[in-house]
């Protein structure tokens, strides 16, 4: 692993896998990483767990921190929620998620 860089994989809504590099020293989250690679993630609320537009499914078996009450509350307003649903903006880019695989959840009306 290169210093301060981890690898993550994002499966888009067409099923295409994108292997991305993400820096661990820039206080980024998965929503921001997706946006910086111009993947179709809105991130309307800027990462405050207030819009659910960054809803993803965690496909790899990484042990992520438990979702906060705010995150659960926002997931209540999302659709296609599954047991592996998370808000991308609440997944921080740190070493522990190196190799993480997430899939973008479907967007309403598309």
């Amino acid at each position: 692993m290169q210093d301060n860089i981890i690898q993550v994989t994002v499966v888009d809504r067409e099923g295409i896998e994108h292997n991305l590099e993400a820096p661990t020293d820039m206080a980024m989250n998965m929503m921001e990483v997706c946006k910086s690679y111009e993947l179709p993630v809105e991130g309307t609320c800027g990462g405050m767990a207030l819009c659910a537009s960054c809803h993803v499914y965690v496909l790899s078996d990484h042990e992520l921190s438990e979702p906060s009450e705010d995150e659960e509350n926002m997931l209540d307003q999302a659709f296609f929620v599954k047991s592996n649903s998370r808000l991308g903006c609440q997944i921080k880019i740190t070493e522990v998620i190196d190799g993480l695989i997430v899939q973008l959840a479907p967007v309403n009306g598309e």
């Binding site: 309307t44 609320c45 405050m48 207030l50 819009c51 009450e69 659960e72 509350n73 997931l75 209540d76 307003q77 999302a78 659709f79 296609f80 929620v81 479907p106 309403n108 009306g109």
Partner: protein, 335 residues
């Protein structure tokens, strides 16, 4: 019928501040918003969150910023049409614009400023294939009159305050009430949560947790809902009404059909004056796009300010415009 100088679509922070800049040039404004209250995203999404990048305010709660803006524009007596969506925009013979709202209100103005932000806030619709077909045939996203459900079988979906509160109210009115929620805990006010639990125990609300509605069946009207519940096979639930309450999310809406140049859900503008491809129509704030665009309140204020100068020239092409500081001229409100 309403007549004004500048018709502002969207009463978010940018639409509100534009009233002030227009007022300085003695232009009157009328604002239309589909929400029932002004403030746009500030009040709908994050009223209690502090904002740190409003010049001159080290920190201000979003809701307070709206309050302050309303106070600041008060001398210019803007008109408000709230709770109505701007639906149709047409050109009139005398080179003005005619706006018709979702409730049929008609507004005339020589200049239209679209400050629509991310679009109209509309109920989040569950992604069930045939849900559009059953709208008004059993599916309701808003409850206008609870009496409509008297003696009926109703299924409410959602986990927030409105899902809880309506389940409680409907428990007294409807024949049967079921509440479907994706997990066992609720985010609503503690009081409401306790009431729902109590009613569930008394058998007045059928609480179905760890579950979601995934399908709708019926003929010309809704008859049953397919429920996916953890640890069970999918099953059908007989209902007359399905009321999904998942909050509001913004959608561009009717603005997309007004002949404006749209790119990535935003209106393309000329940064000289934030004019669109249609003379007399401007777009400011989150709704516009141009190279280098940032969706920030501060940038929207700037856009509104420059836009008003151009709007003045559009309305009075022959008049000279002299620029004055507010410190020099003060704020001369309207009678």
């Amino acid at each position: 019928m309403i007549q004004t100088d500048i018709l502002i679509i969207g009463a978010g922070p940018v639409g509100l501040f534009t009233v002030f800049e227009a007022g300085l040039l003695k232009l009157k404004c009328h604002l239309v918003d589909s929400l029932g209250q002004p403030g746009g995203q500030l009040n709908e999404i994050y009223p209690k969150k502090p904002i740190y990048d409003i010049p001159g305010y080290p920190s201000i709660l979003a809701g307070d910023l709206t309050e302050n803006l309303l106070k600041q524009i008060e001398p210019f007596k803007p008109g408000f049409t709230l709770g109505e969506r701007a639906e149709k925009l047409e050109k009139t013979d005398d080179n003005k614009f005619k706006l018709t709202t979702s409730r049929g209100t008609i507004i005339y103005a020589p200049v239209v400023a679209i400050a629509g932000g991310l679009g109209c806030f509309e109920p989040r619709k569950p992604p069930i294939e045939n849900i559009d077909f059953y709208e008004d045939k059993g599916v309701d996203y808003v409850i206008k009159d609870p009496e409509k459900y008297r003696g009926k079988k109703v299924l409410v979906a959602g986990g927030g305050d409105s899902a809880l509160d309506w389940s409680i109210i409907l428990a007294d009115i409807a024949d049967e009430v079921a509440l479907v929620h994706r997990r066992t805990s609720f985010r609503g006010a503690l009081d409401s949560v306790e009431k729902v639990m109590d009613l569930a125990q008394k058998g007045k609300i059928n609480l179905i947790t760890n579950a979601q509605a995934v399908g709708l069946n019926g003929d010309s009207v809704l008859k049953e809902i397919v429920i996916e519940e953890e640890g069970k096979e999918n099953y059908n639930y007989q209902v007359d009404h399905f009321i999904p309450l998942f909050g509001l999310a913004p959608k561009l809406g009717p603005i997309a059909d007004w002949g404006l140049e749209i790119e990535d859900n935003a209106i393309k503008v000329n940064t000289l004056d934030y004019s669109t491809n249609i003379p007399g129509i401007y777009a400011i704030g989150d709704i516009n796009t141009y190279p280098g665009k940032l969706k920030l309140i501060l940038c929207g204020f700037h856009e509104g300010t420059l836009m008003i100068q151009s709007a003045f020239k559009h309305i009075y092409p022959d008049q000279k415009l002299s620029f004055k500081y507010t410190t020099v001229a003060g704020v001369n409100g309207f009678e």
